[in-house]
Symmetry: D2
Subunit: 354 residues, 4 copies
């Protein structure tokens, strides 16, 4: 299959290239960047030195859809919606890594992102979470790749929500994330001297990904619970380049006598999903997820602890924001629409220690 | 005044020396260490090179109380209680940085730490939080310096609890801490290759400091609330040497119409306490606490955000676990018992950026 | 092919597993560890969770050579030499990652490492640097994988030494290395609080790898130069987990009029060696090697700058100490003895940014 | 005394404030910043929160010299020379942290920095290194504070050059530096994701500070040696916010039989200079300089090792680029011109571990 990447000069674009260059059934035909047109992609991706002769081209729709089956959009929020109608006309399938087509609830979209320029297409789009929407992804014309924080929350919450174990309120998601999450453009907030050694609260309330999380888990609560369900999300920047750890504090409807129902809920959810990995006891060794062990891979590690002193259940998830939180998950969707095994080109092993 | 430091080879001991060497009214007479007896203290405190000729001595009670007014105990949990009775006989006043005398509730002590060898002395001891117990500290024979995590939680919670603003349940404290919190003894968990780049959940439930936090805030709830009050504490290791950021998720009894009552609660609490610093809006610039800006100082910075989409109030506090969370706070207590200004010897300015 | 790894609980052992588990023609039959016998290898290699069911076994020679073709020794220096004679009797081929069989000059061996227990076997061993000894490796019974610092120096020096461009003295190699270089056993020097944020000179003179470097480059100087040739090596620990950057300061015999002869020397050396990568100008963008871009891969990146104000040539090399500096290079040798393409199982792309 | 700081929004300006706010005999009257005029200085110096009410003003010469005795220039290279003539007319004394007045050799100035707009004033200026020019500093109208890399090289080299111990060529200075050295303006090179975890060679040859080093040490070589003397400087960026470690590789004229002459050379140089600290053996413990232990202080730590296998002497120095390498040294000069003890306001103890 032949693909194009629009908006390929950022970190998600670089990651799509890193992974697709080794993907057995794929040829990257075009990678676009306005500001780097004509330059080799290795200019901003030194890791690809010697491995590709691709050069950036202008994001011209006629050009980049020629002989192309799938287009990956790694464009900033708000820009994808201006490109999608034109791309659809060309008959390509679209995997959009931006937030533009993630939400069905347009009110929520407007609250968090502003006016949408092609709201009618939002219903066409499929939320690209393979563990939730595998069937729909197969035939979707537009796949909206979930936000990195949203994925880290949903993979932790959905198993216990589906199993009816937890209360709809409060649901606290306390996330810690690396600096690539803020993108590749230099800024005062991410200048090394001020960004190193921080534990900086940056999105304690009102985080945009809240809407995705709520939209994904809500259907699995009963009607009464749905009314009062509320996800309380807070994000923190820590001194790390890649990775998200989400600590999810939730409360049992009825505290189970032992941990079996919780194990069961997670095992059930994980069983056909090759990139969700449950880490807990093993040979007597207790371990919890940590982004350190999954950097560069498409895994999301999941674990939990039951508070012995209250009805609290603490779930933790770890993923690489640029892989399972963006490019890797996009390629997993791509594999699904191609009818390939989901793991094709995504079987990297984590590097440890790193 | 002349002081001795028992257990001076660890990080808290080193920090006591760093601060007391510049303290205008103090002479450090003795610093003890079994394993380093006879060696200069600079062997494990290279920052003190050329600034002191102190050598470690054996922790002999007769010796280290000679001509000494105050003894700082920087000993491991469980060891202070074996030393305190003997020290009291010598007539010295004791400032204990361990957990041994922090709790009044002996049941809680036993649950978290095991049997206490001199429980009768626990009632004599004063919980050494100047912002809470200033008067009692003045005359205390035993001052129990609060735990670093406990302090970071209490400084955030107490103002709004006292003001009657928040519900007694749930109270979620999600802390992120540096590696000095684990002490100075090498371990597999803190070996640099495995400890660097982590966001590692390590005390998601059952953290010992929970008891201190509850014991300190409980009296400020009314009786009905006291029954259901519960602090849910979780700790994470991040890639940082010093510092704690605690993110405290609590819920309003009744959400206020604007932020004024919250500001008032914090300002009230902070007003006579020189080391609590409220950081929020200033000249139109919004800022939240971050350990990065207070490392090496005795400040605890406090800020908050009200969730526009729920009844949640998110409070964040930042302090240096070895200073306001240990040695600095101990010296603040020492100043109080000496009748000195609380800030004596503790007026370091943070280094930025660092 | 079937292989065994002796001494598999350290970082080199973990890295051999990470790479061999994806190696298409290889089955890992045994991995030994005295202290972890019976435990799954994932206990100390969380990145392998779910990817292998291997468990550590005792390092019993009869056992671990059964149905095994090649044995990798990831044992501490001094231990390989006690195992090699017994292993050779079993007819396996040996790839030794320790220093035991790297030197031909026994005097140098004794100076740096002490007495050797089977000196006669040293001549049998081949220094396992594919770029230097490809032919000899094919038939070697014992392959001694070069030291990580030595490799980083040799890949920078050998091209210009072979081309006759530089003086035999002085040759300054100033290396900066990550913490995995010190091994997986906790120590005071590598305890996170004291190892983070360092730039710590730790082997300014007398570094053991000096002997390997000299032994490898000496034959390419003429006799007069050989007499005065001397490599001056200094190592520094920096705050990084993996990677070595070596800065090599050498002096031209006769400063060339332009950079062509230098480019030629490097291109010549690199041409049949898939893991040496020359990074310099590209599309007008100037770049120099940095471990950051090659972590987890088997590349050694090489670049240089000519000092416009003196006869100095500065060469820099970057490699991952655990991959091209240990396990990756060992597998490259393994591929050569198997008659496989050198890159088999070693085609990982670097992760950027990381 | 009353002082003004021109160009106070960068890191050197922030550091001058941190130190001068605690300086016992000093009042900061004005701090200028074009872009931040009217804003409190705490906007970019959160560490000063609550400690000052200073606001940035425009860099108007009439204004900022009113009732001011000394003006600190923390302006970019090239800008100081446009301000100095006007400031001199106002009768203030100038302490310039930029490179504009460091060099006497105008040819070297032009080679590294371009045309100078008031070359005649260069001879008036005194190179502000207290350990070299204490007497001249007392009466200087313009003090040119040395470059941070230059200081780190000179403090290591000058003792052994003055003692006649080393050859004039080669002199290799291999420096490793933190990210504050690149200033406070965001850039692609210093964006956290690309700057974290690096060991990046960035000024291998042709570094501007070379000229200062040569100009300062040259007079201490005899005439023949002066001709061939050459300093070969190379700089590397490492993952650290503050600090420089310079590794200086030099060669003995005649290797001494023991280390006594070297100790003597350093002790001689250091003796009346309170901020040079010789670290080596102490109570049997061997230690070498490391920026980690001096961050935030005005110390430059110095140590050495003699290569047992050659005539090489390796000297290492560590300092904080923003303190002894900039603002701290500027204040030390300020103390000298005021007739105060050099250590006034500069007696901070390093924080360890940090």
């Amino acid at each position: 299959m032949r693909v194009a990447i629009i908006g390929g000069s950022g970190y998600a674009g670089g990651e799509l290239m890193r992974l697709l260059l080794k993907h057995p059934q794929t040829e990257i035909k075009y990678v676009t960047s306005r500001k780097l047109t004509g330059k080799p992609v290795t200019v901003v991706n030194p890791n690809l030195d010697g491995l590709t002769s691709l050069k950036y081209v202008m994001p011209n729709i006629d050009l980049v859809t020629k002989d192309v089956d799938v287009v990956f959009l790694a464009t900033p929020h708000g820009e994808s919606q201006t490109l999608v109608p034109g791309l659809l006309e060309k008959g390509v399938r679209i995997i959009d890594l931006s937030a533009d087509f993630r939400l069905k609830n347009l009110k929520a979209y407007e609250y968090f992102y502003g006016q949408h320029s092609c709201p009618s297409l939002c219903n066409d789009a499929v939320y690209g979470m393979p563990e939730v929407n595998k069937e729909k992804i197969k035939t979707a014309r537009i796949i909206a790749v979930p936000g990195c924080h949203a994925s880290s929350a949903i993979y932790g919450l959905l198993p216990v929500v589906k199993a009816g174990l937890i209360k709809p309120f409060p649901i606290i998601v306390d996330s810690k994330t690396g600096s690539t999450g803020a993108g590749s453009s230099p800024s005062e907030a991410d200048h090394h001297p001020v960004r190193a050694n921080v534990v900086r609260p940056y999105g304690l309330t009102g985080h945009r990904h809240t809407a995705e999380i709520e939209e994904t888990i809500a259907p699995h609560f009963d009607n009464a619970d749905k009314e009062i369900m509320k996800v309380s999300f807070s994000a923190h920047a820590v001194d790390m380049v890649r990775g998200i750890l989400s600590t999810i504090h939730v409360f049992f409807k009825q505290k189970p006598e032992d941990e079996k129902p919780i194990y069961k809920a997670f095992r059930e959810f994980i069983k056909d999903n090759p990139f969700l990995r449950f880490v807990k006891k093993q040979a007597g060794v207790f371990r919890l997820p940590d982004p350190k062990t999954i950097v560069g891979t498409n895994y999301c590690d999941i674990g939990f602890e039951v508070d012995p002193l209250s009805d609290r259940l603490v779930i933790v998830t770890a993923l690489d924001n640029l892989v399972k939180g963006a490019a890797g998950n996009a390629i997993q969707c791509y594999n699904i629409i191609q009818g390939l095994p989901e793991t094709t080109g995504l079987d990297q092993i984590g590097i440890f220690p790193i």
